[in-house]
Subunit: 321 residues, 2 copies
């Protein structure tokens, strides 16, 4: 395929994008009609939307189009898993400049497709329009398979807090990239392409999770949403938070306490949940704290004390690139 | 509410937006968690996504935020109805500049909410991010209520073609506005705020429609999609296309044949469908043509002859404002 998005035209680009897609049995009608049709055997559908902008959520000099696709899809599919649901489908709203080479959106679509396959889902529809800023708007759908949705509001004093997946790896990779480095690769890769533990969401629902979310804004910030919705305090034990030696090395090199990345770094899309104290968790879950009655302290504490920074506000100035 | 989007902050704006919403019994879990949960009693969910950009799909000097919200929602909800489904839910991905007054997104949300209510749906979730260009990415969901989805691929030679809703009103309103006028108001209003006949979609499915779509790009263009997918030719009878005298007057004033608006004008979101010849249609449907075997002629003809212009390509130059 040659040329720009403008040369290919709207319908040409849509043909290129849809020709790359794969399907699943849940897809009853894929792209090309007024709307898609997706199986919802539970008689309820779980749905979530995210918007990613070039310059704000990704940079073309840091990430390939394929990686942006993987990450954009992962972010949304993780939201579905964090409700305890199995991802089924994804829709893509895409804004691209006419002068962009057409390989960019097609490689983006390859990444979205492949991440959907990891999660068991498929791309079923979308829209493509021309505009100045590359914008990736994704909606993911999922099925609860007869579990009740696990919201943020069900944590009870006495519950344990447990996490599975990666914490702080994307933030450490971001620190490396923002200083002009390209290694250690494991962290750079984690920033470019998170690996949410999709299966853990429905599994946690089956294990009786009382509240659950994915870590998109940072562990303290996202547990803050659970604490607020559940009207509880959550205390984390820093000793239970695994900090890999390589992450400590990066922290030393750039002058940042790696615990900051683990507690405040977002975008790894780990799954964190609260469970009744007698829960038997599979091996890859780590208990990292407990749920307490609300107190005068902040809603999330670390070793019983306030933690300084609780994630970011996308409209704030701190994270402006 | 005072101040700009930036002053209000991401979470402040989300609070303002969600506080304005209404709900329906189909909404099992609304905004505020990782994802929403919506009833899908049919065990299938219908889903469609559209993206609207300021400058390309709407202009703030031509339309209020409220009208943009009504139109953006209508466009998506009509896609759901055109499958024969009942709209149930809508998700909003919104990009807004920090310096935009916060009343703009809140009035947009009022418009989206009100259009959802017309269609029987509710806003269940979304995402808000800061960016240069106002971007409205909407995903609508719907339920088939045990009807099979009516695709574009089922039209058969011998079927009749029928339409319900408005045709050419939005295009005539666009012609008025682009010449600096603000009246006749009925057409300007039709451009700002389409009124898709949502109920007609599921009703047509119940009447045995063989193919269906909503008119978003123009009658000839959208019937072209049905003709292509169904491998048939569709011939329209111009005498059956009602041209209101006021539309003829505007055509005379601006030097455009109003039949052009009726045949090529999009965005009114009329519902057009093919039916078996013995169908008994309700009063508000008009039979406007028939389905024929494919021929050497274009897939859509008017009075047996080719029609010059078949809608627009959003990447093309013709419609660049």
């Amino acid at each position: 395929m040659k040329g720009t998005v403008g040369e290919l035209g709207e319908f040409g680009l849509i043909r290129e994008l849809t020709s790359r897609l794969t399907t699943t049995p849940a897809v009853r009608l894929g792209p090309g009609d007024d709307a898609a049709v997706v199986a919802a055997p539970d008689r309820r559908v779980v749905a979530s939307t995210d918007v990613l902008l070039e310059g704000r959520h990704f940079r073309r000099d840091w990430s390939t189009a394929y990686d942006v696709g993987r990450k954009a899809a992962a972010q949304n599919l993780a939201d579905i898993a964090a409700m305890g649901a199995v991802p089924t489908a994804l829709l893509l709203g895409l804004v691209v400049p006419a002068e962009l080479h057409a390989t960019w959106p097609t490689e983006l679509m390859d990444g979205i497709r492949d991440e959907c396959q990891v999660a068991g889902a498929a791309v079923v529809g979308g829209d493509v329009v021309r505009g100045e800023t590359i914008t990736v708007a994704i909606t993911a759908l999922g099925d609860l398979r007869n579990h009740e949705p696990v919201t943020r509001a069900g944590a009870r004093p006495g519950d344990v807090v447990a996490v599975t997946g990666w914490l702080g790896w994307s933030a450490a990779g971001h620190a490396v990239l923002s200083r002009g480095f390209r290694s250690p690769r494991a962290f750079v890769e984690a920033h470019r392409r998170p690996e949410p533990p999709y299966h853990a969401g429905p599994a946690a629902a089956g294990l009786g999770a009382t509240a659950m979310t994915d870590v998109s804004d940072g562990l303290v910030a996202d547990l803050g949403h659970i604490a607020e919705a559940s009207k509880v305090r959550i205390d984390l034990r820093s000793a239970a938070l695994d900090i890999p030696s390589q992450m400590s090395d990066i922290g030393t090199a750039v002058g940042i306490d790696p615990l900051h990345w683990v507690l405040s770094g977002g975008e790894d899309h780990a799954i964190v949940a609260t469970f009744p104290p007698d829960v038997k968790l599979p091996a890859r879950w780590r208990v990292i704290g407990g749920v307490l009655n609300p107190s005068a302290l902040p809603q999330v504490t670390v070793d019983g004390a306030p933690w300084k920074k609780a994630g970011w506000d996308h409209f704030g100035d701190i994270e402006d690139a």
